[in-house]
């Protein structure tokens, strides 16, 4: 290819991608920012009242609302607990996978991947049924017929959290398993010969050697668990009793589409987006450190 051709052609190949991504990310983000500085509610949508610029008014409302802070707080705590539990379960099972024989390994990874590939929607409904007060198997087995798992805020978070972990740990498990497999057998054998226990060799060998991979898994889990929507929305019927189980995503959705407070909902969306952006920057830095060729 000639030098001139080389400088001109990139756009021919890259343009379709840009043409899809720019309007799907650029414009909505622009719109989100724009709406967030306007008083934009049902009255303005229907044309009953003029749209007025209120600067950071929506943000002031939001930051002055104790409800926002409590939802932000429980979003962070919920996500943090989910990340830790997902990693613990995923790592433990990754180790089990490396030790298991062919058939148990195959069955376990297929079962896990089935949980991962299924729609979050259907996973949520089946867990809801398992914990149903009257019909649920859990109450039958425990002999506590009629106990409502979706009444107390933290019990509800527990059940929803278990559903989320069930859906998200397989990815962590399989990524860590792939990582452990990539550690030379000789290294693991040497540790065993030196008398290292399973526990010791996990913390002293596997974890340090897989640090880059673990960083990426952690960050991906943070992103994943921070933007949980479906499980909360479906299992708690849109955020639980009086919205007690709301997380930022559900709160933004309910504010915008439930209460028709589009301006305020956008402001929450902006806050969410900024938080995700910061986490993403850490992700890119972590990828860079592992020597990913960009």
């Amino acid at each position: 290819m000639t030098q001139a051709g080389r400088t001109r052609t990139p756009w021919l190949y890259l343009l379709p991608t840009v043409a899809v991504l720019a309007p799907l990310f650029g414009y909505p983000i622009y719109m989100l920012g724009l709406l967030s500085v306007f008083d934009y509610r049902q009255a303005q949508v229907s044309g009953g009242e003029p749209t007025t610029f209120i600067g950071f008014g929506n943000y002031a409302t939001l930051f002055g609302d104790p409800r926002f802070w409590s939802i932000l707080g429980q979003t962070v705590v919920f996500a943090a607990v989910l990340v830790i539990v997902t990693l613990a379960v995923g790592a433990a099972l990754a180790v089990v996978l490396t030790r298991a024989g062919h058939w148990p390994r195959l069955l376990l990874s297929l079962a896990a991947m089935a949980a991962w590939a299924a729609p979050a929607m259907t996973g949520s409904t089946v867990w809801m049924f398992l914990f149903d007060a009257d019909l649920g198997l859990v109450n039958q087995v425990l002999g506590i017929d009629g106990f409502n798992w979706f009444y107390d805020r933290w019990v509800t978070f527990g059940v929803v959290g278990a559903t989320v972990v069930w859906h998200s740990f397989p990815l962590v498990m399989v990524m860590l398993f792939a990582g452990i497999q990539a550690i030379p057998v000789s290294v693991r054998e040497a540790a065993a010969l030196d008398g290292a226990s399973e526990w010791q060799s996990f913390w002293r060998i596997i974890v340090p050697m897989l640090r880059p991979l673990i960083t990426i898994v952690v960050i991906q889990s943070i992103i994943w668990d921070f933007k949980i929507f479906t499980q909360i929305y479906v299992m708690t019927n849109g955020g639980g009793i009086a919205g007690q189980n709301s997380v930022l995503n559900v709160y933004a959705y309910q504010t915008a589409f439930g209460s028709s407070e589009y301006g305020l909902g956008s402001a929450i969306g902006v806050v969410m987006t900024l938080i995700l952006l910061v986490v993403t920057l850490f992700y890119i830095r972590a990828l860079h450190r592992t020597g990913e060729k960009l």
Binding site: T17, T122, G269
Partner: protein, 282 residues
């Protein structure tokens, strides 16, 4: 402690350990599959036996599943198929040239381009759903499957570009050059040599996009309003009332919404994993 045990029972221990680990693996696998088992069994239970249910249904009511096709849900399944299929085609058409070019050429904004694409993967539509709704409202595309195809395509493009880029990069340029020298032409070399070699990557990207679009919930919940335009995930949600849940129909639909993706995923499991871990293991 561990050392001690190892010395004493070094002959019998590994065997017991293997059995315990295998048993644990089977039990855990069962625990993870259990919700699906419940889903299928409930879907097949006669309506009246839901209360006072025995662990296994005494009779299987296959008409619950066949009833799916006569209920409106068949239309929703069709919407899901169109959306998932449409987004997959869109992603392949758009991602293939970009991935190929960035794998084969070095140019000024190459790294910036790939990072920007990667950043879009981190964003999920939920946070910016108000903006997305507003955009499609202005375009007059709210409550159409086109809006769902575009959003699902856009939000899965990044993974496809990255995994295809990795595949194209791993195919030696010399193979293509050789075919070119043999007189196949640039495009001939691309279609007869490079693309067939990259097929595993293409299939992975294809199935991954299809599954993600199939499972999507939030965007469809927001952008579709009339029941006949809703994909299966959203339509199923309408079986969950404030006080009453129509479990049988919900699970009959859930079974049909779940099985195809699990089968598809089983086909690409390994490749997705290697794609996701690309470069992150030293």
């Amino acid at each position: 402690m561990a050392q001690h045990v190892k010395q004493v029972g070094s002959r019998s221990l590994p065997k017991i350990k293997t059995v315990i680990i295998a048993a644990a693996a089977y039990v855990i696998a069962f625990v993870f599959l259990f919700p699906y088992l419940v889903m299928v069994l409930t879907a097949l239970r006669p309506q009246e036996s839901l209360r006072n249910a025995t662990y296994l249904p005494e009779t299987f009511e296959w008409s619950n599943l066949t009833g799916f096709w006569t209920s409106g849900l068949a239309d929703n399944l069709l919407v899901t198929l169109k959306v998932a299929g449409g987004s997959t085609i869109l992603v392949l058409l758009v991602a293939l040239p970009a991935a190929y070019y960035t794998a084969r050429h070095n140019f000024r904004f190459r790294t910036a381009f790939l990072i920007l694409v990667l950043i879009t993967q981190m964003f999920q539509p939920t946070a910016m759903i108000v903006g997305i709704y507003r955009e499609f409202y202005q375009l007059g595309l709210v409550d159409t499957i086109w809006s769902l195809i575009l959003v699902n395509g856009g939000f899965n493009l990044a993974f496809a570009v990255w995994i295809l880029n990795a595949y194209f990069s791993s195919i030696p340029r010399e193979l293509e050059e050789a075919a070119f020298m043999d007189g196949t032409g640039r495009l001939g070399a691309l279609f007869r040599v490079t693309l067939p070699l990259a097929m595993p990557g293409v299939i992975t990207a294809l199935i991954f996009t299809f599954i993600a679009a199939w499972n999507e919930f939030v965007v469809a919940l927001t952008l579709t309003t009339s029941p006949e335009n809703q994909p299966l995930t959203v339509a199923l949600n309408s079986f969950i009332g404030q006080y009453q849940v129509d479990w049988q129909n919900l699970f009959a639909g859930s079974v049909i919404a779940t099985i195809p993706v699990i089968i598809l995923f089983a086909l690409i499991e390994r490749k997705v994993v290697s794609g996701l871990t690309a470069g992150s293991i030293k």
